[in-house]
Symmetry: C2
Subunit: 337 residues, 2 copies
């Protein structure tokens, strides 16, 4: 048995809370005996859900809370006012050092704000980026940042590149990950002011494997392992993935119903198509880490089901085992010394 990994789980956050969250927590605990899971939320509800499963009692701690932060609430206000919410209390467990990591399917905004305000940044980190894995033809790539840092500064993007490289090297096992900056052309002179200012900084950064500009067109093909951008662009990239894939598939489905021939064909390809589409689903990789904090903060999709919650919790084990935060701290503070 390895070192115990303590994870604070927001049992009340997300569209499918508490049912799928607690089911996911039980599945994670069954899969990894090193996990000690703090279920944060209404104790009575949590106990009732837990009673449906077989689990080792010593792997769970219940932390009773009375409030819930809704997705639509303005994040800063919610964090400040709802001190006894499951989201805030779960973050506090990481801040106090009781837990190593936090997992929530609740409000993204509150997690971003709370992660920064309550858990706090590692020394030297300017802003914590939210970095989901995205599917590409060459396997998953890290899209960093998709969080709150719109209008970022060049120095932030350099830190995103470094943190992203450490994450992909240690978490996904990609040696010397290729770092690209999202740009509107491959030529060095192209781009907006932010990209033009950031480009030479990345070129002169010996700790990363910078491959230059990456056009949005080449991201799904797998042009880089770490795709660096400020959060506005990151959000557009992430949501275009989702939007184009969904619209295209709806259009294809409609089209296949146009003739008997294609209807029969559609029936035959259905199982294979389903498998294929899964490999191109942005939600398949589970939670996105908010990097550069004093502890790991993981945001899973609001619509997360038990399996995604399980994977998000198991992710915290790898994160701790690979000492990713220690490596980030070392590399970022070296830079600032």
């Amino acid at each position: 048995m390895g070192e115990t990994v303590k994870v604070a789980v927001d049992a009340m956050g997300g569209d499918n809370a508490p049912v799928e969250i607690i089911k996911g927590a039980v599945l994670a605990a069954q899969e990894n005996a090193d996990l000690l899971i703090y279920l944060v939320g209404d104790e009575e509800i949590i106990r009732k859900e837990l009673s449906q499963y077989t689990y080792r009692e010593e792997q769970f701690v219940i932390v009773h809370t009375t409030e819930i932060i809704e997705t639509a609430e303005p994040p800063v206000m919610a964090i400040r006012k709802k001190k006894d919410s499951s989201l805030v209390r779960a973050l506090m467990l990481v801040k106090e050092g009781t837990c190593d990591a936090y997992v929530s399917a609740g409000s993204t905004g509150a997690t971003l704000v709370g992660g920064q305000l309550l858990v706090g940044r590692l020394k030297g980190v300017e802003r914590p980026p939210l970095a989901p894995l995205i599917p590409t033809e060459k396997g998953p790539a890290l899209l960093i940042d998709c969080g709150a840092n719109v209008d970022a500064r060049p120095s932030m993007l350099v830190q995103f590149a470094k943190m992203g490289s450490i994450y992909m090297e240690n978490f996904a096992g990609i040696k010397n990950p290729r770092v690209g900056i999202v740009n509107i052309g491959a030529e060095e002179e192209k781009g907006n002011q932010l990209v033009k200012d950031t480009f030479p900084l990345l070129q002169n950064c010996p700790e990363i494997n910078f491959v230059g500009s990456v056009e949005a067109r080449d991201i799904p093909a797998g042009a880089a392992d770490v795709v660096v951008c400020e959060a506005f662009t990151g959000n557009v990239v992430l949501k275009m993935y989702e939007g184009v894939a969904k619209s295209l598939m709806r259009t294809v489905k409609k089209g296949l119903m146009s003739s008997l021939r294609s209807k029969i064909g559609a029936l035959l390809i259905k199982p294979a198509l389903k498998d294929v589409l899964k490999t191109f689903d942005v939600e398949q990789y589970g939670g996105a880490p908010l990097l550069g904090l004093n502890g790991l903060v993981v945001k899973t999709h609001g619509s997360a089901k038990a399996n995604e919650v399980k994977n998000s919790i198991l992710q915290c084990v790898t994160f701790k085992e690979q000492r990713i935060n220690e490596k980030i701290r070392e590399r970022i503070s070296t830079q600032d010394a």
Copy 2:
């Protein structure tokens, strides 16, 4: 017969020049007798190509040039140095008032720079936006700007919204087109500084039908008819369309070859699938107009074939007939008065 529409066509620009360009010009002339097409490029080559077709001689003028601007050349330098290039001479025909419009499949950069420097802006227009049509589930939408105006100011985006509305109303026949601004959330307080500053200006603009923020996810579904953004975001949106669709389709194809059952199914759906994919191809609508200039400048894809060239030339007829530039001039100068 209507008014003559004179179009300067860069016969030497694009991957398939001069063959497909000249074929497209002949097809356009055959389809519309009001067209007078100036074919700009090497006279000998143009005559040789033309000799393969049946056409009315009075619909064509050949303007001999000796230089060609390559796609990879730095645009500003190319425009300044290659005065006798087909691209520059074609633009000059519009500037001088000899032609109403310009069509080229050549260098995008040189067309953007040359359009602005040589043809010149309409009075009151801050910057000319490049505005391609993109496919959505509800029909084509205008993505404005995908050109050179990265780091745009709020007042420019307001002009893009106005010009885009006029274009979609008059060119695509959409009454009261829905204008949306690309944003990372539907809430009004979200966005980067540019979006936050532009949002209230669009809200207070009585001449457009502003529907608020549009998330990238909802663009392919057809959430707006006029999708406003600065050019960096516009390029990312446009190229994600292309990138996701291509990668998804490559992945689907590979997946369908995985079993005999799906292989047979794939054969049956092939014709229907091909038709469907065409409806989701960003290149289907032909050239993108560079709006707000003293004449119409149309940039077609570098890979354009005869049919796209034909459509781009025919587009110039509609543009003139609908008096789109007069309407832009009226509405933009009213605002600045």
